[in-house]
């Protein structure tokens, strides 16, 4: 390839990247709207506890803080992993993404443990409108985390087998966007659901 051909090729590549990024961004914003609706439902039904417990009775703020910190750090590690991946340092990138995967699992574990604790006390999705809204909002976020983890696991296997080519970088970029996005949504869950229950 001549120099000019290579430049045209890169230009095409960048345009394709831009399109992919924008498409994914549109998905993220739509997903954000879905979360907004769930947030609205939660805000509206927050006090509809009937005879069941209120948030103050069942939430464990320390556990929620632990989950938040874990997720924040995982958002950081996925970012560092992206930097290493762009530099083409496969081994380091895999280590950072592996760390992200473990932190994601830890976060999921914390959420599951919290659900277990609440259900163990004898409350569930059907206890009150408040708990329905709570389980659906936090559960939907948890499902996103699970899909993110599966996605991350699959890409890591690809990277291990095929190395860090530009297609992988594109996929990883989308994944890191997704992960940061889940982090932002969680910040609002932490603030609106957990912290505001204690006001």
């Amino acid at each position: 390839m001549t120099h000019a051909e290579l430049a045209v090729d890169t230009e095409h590549e960048e345009a394709a990247n831009d399109r992919t990024m924008f498409g994914f961004w549109v998905y993220l914003m739509t997903d954000l709207l879905m979360f907004a609706v769930l947030f609205a439902v939660y805000a509206v039904l927050k006090n509809s506890t009937v005879d069941g417990p209120s948030g103050r009775d069942i939430f464990n703020p320390t556990l929620a803080l632990a989950g938040t910190l874990v997720l924040l750090v995982s958002s950081f590690t996925v970012g560092i992993g992206m930097i290493k991946a762009r530099l083409g340092i496969k081994k380091q990138a895999l280590i950072w993404f592996g760390l992200t995967f473990i932190l994601g699992l830890a976060f999921l574990g914390i959420t599951m443990y919290e659900f277990y604790e609440i259900i163990h006390k004898g409350y569930n999705l059907g206890t009150s409108a408040f708990l329905s809204a709570f389980f659906i909002l936090v559960g939907t976020h948890g499902l996103h985390i699970i899909s993110g983890l599966i996605w991350l696991g699959v890409i890591m296997v690809y990277v291990m087998k095929r190395g860090l080519n530009k297609h992988m970088i594109r996929k990883l970029t989308l994944l890191s966007l997704f992960w940061h996005f889940l982090d932002i949504v969680w910040i609002f869950i932490f603030s609106v659901v957990y912290l505001m229950a204690f006001v």
Binding site: L6, A7, T10, D18, M21, F22, W25, V26, M29, L32, L33, A36, V37, F39, A40, V41, A43, V44, P61, L65, T68, L69, L72, V73, S75, F76, G79, I80, M82, I83, R86, L87, T173, L177, H180, F181, D183, I184, I187, F188, F190, S191, V192, L195, M196, F198, V199
Partner: protein, 229 residues
């Protein structure tokens, strides 16, 4: 090769550096722990706390958007920003309007069950001609006469669900305020009883405890009542 290196230099400004991630992480951790401590240690309460929590969340969102998502960095993703703010607008409408509409609906069209519970709690014995089950015990009406000479009797002992009728003996409007002159309290959700000239006013005793009241215009007119559960 020259193109590769060119790509990495532009990539840096657009995708962030280790430093930007570290700064972002540190700020995010702070903005998570500060509201947590405010809530757990109950440093501020009520609406101020609500606003603070929401403020920190929004601040945190912008930090993450800037340091982690790198929105607005680099020349290209302007349409991403436009789309983001469009979505943010939609979210404000969806969430804000939902809360506003449903709260209104709830206030004005409370389900029967909720109305009944609320009525019981506030000792309202009838709603819409139906008994709520509140205060069906023997109700005694206590008469308290208020005049310029003072309150008679100045001390009333009553049971929960009894009623007190305040009789105003003068041709003036009196405002009986619960609590003392320096510290007002509310009784059953009301902070005062207004007696129009010469007109009596009856309140239902739906809250137990020891209460003092005084006339707003003549603070020497003081009475008190004890409500036993």
């Amino acid at each position: 090769m020259s193109i590769e290196s060119h790509k990495t230099t532009t990539a840096k400004s657009e995708h962030g550096t280790t430093t930007s991630y570290v700064i972002g992480l540190m700020l995010s951790l702070n903005f998570t722990i500060v509201p947590y401590l405010l809530v757990v240690n109950e440093i501020i309460t009520g609406n101020a706390l609500l606003v603070t929590i929401l403020g920190f969340a929004i601040l945190q969102m912008f930090i993450q958007i800037f340091f982690f998502l790198h929105l607005g960095r680099g020349p290209k993703p302007l349409y991403n920003i436009v789309f983001f703010f469009g979505t943010a607008g939609l979210i404000i409408v969806v969430v804000g309007a939902s809360i506003f509409i449903i709260n209104n609906l709830y206030r004005n069209m409370m389900p029967d069950e909720v109305t009944r519970k609320l009525a019981q709690k506030e000792a309202i014995s009838q709603v819409g001609g139906k008994e709520t089950g509140a205060c069906n015990a023997n109700k005694v009406n206590h008469i308290v006469t208020v005049s310029e000479e003072g309150v008679s009797p100045s001390y009333t002992s009553a049971n929960l669900c009894d009623t007190i009728t305040f009789i105003n003996q003068d041709k003036v409007t009196r405002e009986l305020v619960f609590g003392t002159y320096t510290q007002n309290v509310s009784y059953g959700g009301e902070d005062k009883v207004v007696l129009d000239d010469g007109r009596p006013e009856t309140i239902t005793l739906n809250q137990d405890g020891n209460f003092v009241f005084y006339d707003k215009t003549n603070q020497s007119i003081i009475g008190n009542f004890v409500v036993k559960p």
